[in-house]
Symmetry: C2
Subunit: 304 residues, 2 copies
């Protein structure tokens, strides 16, 4: 008994006493807390310092066309390139990936800073798909977050310890994004298929009374024959997509989510463009009979 319990006592004496009733603010006492040591050893309000372990090389280089979540574009691809040269680890960085190849999926935690607007410090946001309604920043996945941490579960396509890179599919990260962490996806820990979401998550945007497009499932994507020929040619010089079918699949996934801004959705006949790896894609959205929408890809050009 002695060893286990005395060890416990020693450890616990360094911790704050248990709090009862209405939570007391933790800020003042966090400097003595194990969990809060890093953030609050001097100033409890100082930001945490977080190492980035690498960068992401993505097929998405512009916000235009970048899906809201990685799982909405399962064919999209990218590579995590770890920082080498002992910048993060004391041994070759690729060794940190040993064993990851045994998992089918991994979480990427990353840092985004594109929303450094005046509204950054507002506790409420207006996500585009809500067509103007506002809600708490912690009730959505908007990038306008105080800590600017993004989180994406990707499918693992390949791991190279020697090259210190991880190839993944199903991504929503822009090219050059700093990667903060990689964690294996464990269904036992991470999967709650029965979890519930509020009704607005599945509500078509039309139901909001705004001319803000339709729900994802209603967009039908087609390619003009000329665009398919161009795609075949451009995809051969892609550094990320294996073949034209993979690139075509990603274009279809991106457009099926109607990635246009609220403003551009008001002009259905206007062309819409986005960049995917080395391709510049142009299409038109057209309203079909009923509630449906069609995205017709008219051109796929080399972006450089």
């Amino acid at each position: 008994m002695a060893r286990c319990l005395s060890g416990l006592t020693q450890r616990c004496q360094r911790l704050p006493r248990a709090v009862r009733g209405r939570p007391r603010p933790l800020v003042a006492r966090s400097s003595t807390s194990r969990g809060g040591a890093e953030a609050s050893s001097k100033d409890p309000t100082a930001p945490c310092s977080v190492e980035h372990v690498g960068y992401f090389r993505s097929c998405f280089s512009c916000r235009n066309g970048c899906p809201r979540q990685g799982s909405l574009a399962p064919n999209s691809v990218g590579v995590v390139e770890l920082r080498q040269g002992h910048e993060v680890f004391e041994a070759p960085a690729g060794l940190s990936l040993t064993g990851l190849e045994g998992f089918s999926h991994a979480w990427l935690l990353w840092h985004f800073s594109e929303y450094q607007s005046r509204k950054m410090r507002s506790p409420r946001v207006r996500p585009p798909r809500l067509g103007g309604e506002s809600l708490g920043v912690f009730a959505c996945r908007s990038p306008k977050r105080p800590s600017r941490i993004g989180m994406t579960a990707c499918r693992i396509e390949g791991v190279s310890e020697e090259g210190a890179w991880l190839r993944v599919s199903g991504v929503d990260l822009l090219d050059g994004t700093p990667i903060l962490d990689i964690k294996p996806y464990v269904p036992r820990y991470d999967s709650f298929p029965g979890a519930t979401v509020p009704a607005w998550m599945d509500r078509p945007s039309e139901a909001l009374g705004h001319r803000s497009g339709v729900a994802a499932a209603d967009v039908e994507v087609r390619f003009e024959p000329r665009a398919l020929e161009e795609l075949e040619s451009v995809s051969r010089r892609s550094g990320l997509f294996r073949d034209s079918a993979a690139m075509e699949g990603t274009i279809a996934e991106v457009l099926s989510q109607d990635p246009r801004s609220r403003t551009s959705k008001k002009h259905d006949k206007q062309e819409y463009g986005f960049r995917l790896d080395n391709a510049r894609v142009t299409c038109v959205f057209r309203r079909m009979s009923g509630d449906g929408l069609e995205a017709l890809v008219t051109r796929v050009e080399a972006a450089e």
Copy 2:
């Protein structure tokens, strides 16, 4: 056409050109990248600065007894207390929670600093359950991570906009942990029940050839009658648990995972203790016939 595509062109011109073939290191060019702006605007190797939005008030105040993952102890409880007084937001912090009550689960991203050992910068770790085997830090959920970010999906038990707090269950955070972000759990984005893990994830530790305990499912938890009486009394003064059944459930969940260290597992007859909210729990682990193990709770005392 003109507006959409010219807007795209403007945005893309600020971005690095697409990379082909073998990925070029992104560090050098990340200062011109949207995603990398914050981290690399001056020094591309400088750590990211991440705001913490609150602190966690947990039933776990010591590493002893704190489960490896929140979903392994679904009855455990805690409260996220947001930082108020315009420290993070320009308006009352509680407004950031508006709409979160419609979700059943939420992700907590948090910061831990307990593993600031000399081995912190090693790319490989030896998780306790692997009984001595090493693997890449990105192939496991070990706290020895370069960025020290933890990630836990919790069940939402209550939200108070006015009080700026979020009450959750199924936690693995220590008391006082800085919270970096809260995101709603969306099965469509986050749930991959068919994801696969390597065989060692489900392998009983015994199979490793070490005397390091048995798999979680083999531990049977029992309470001595006196311990149950003490639990009934102590739980009445708990600030987090609703009743003695909830506290009893969490004790059982903690012990069923065999939370002992590799060292203490070698001494089956030694007492093991941990602290849960305002209770100090003592038990003994005993080997049963066959491969099973029994945890018998002998005492539940007031911790203060």
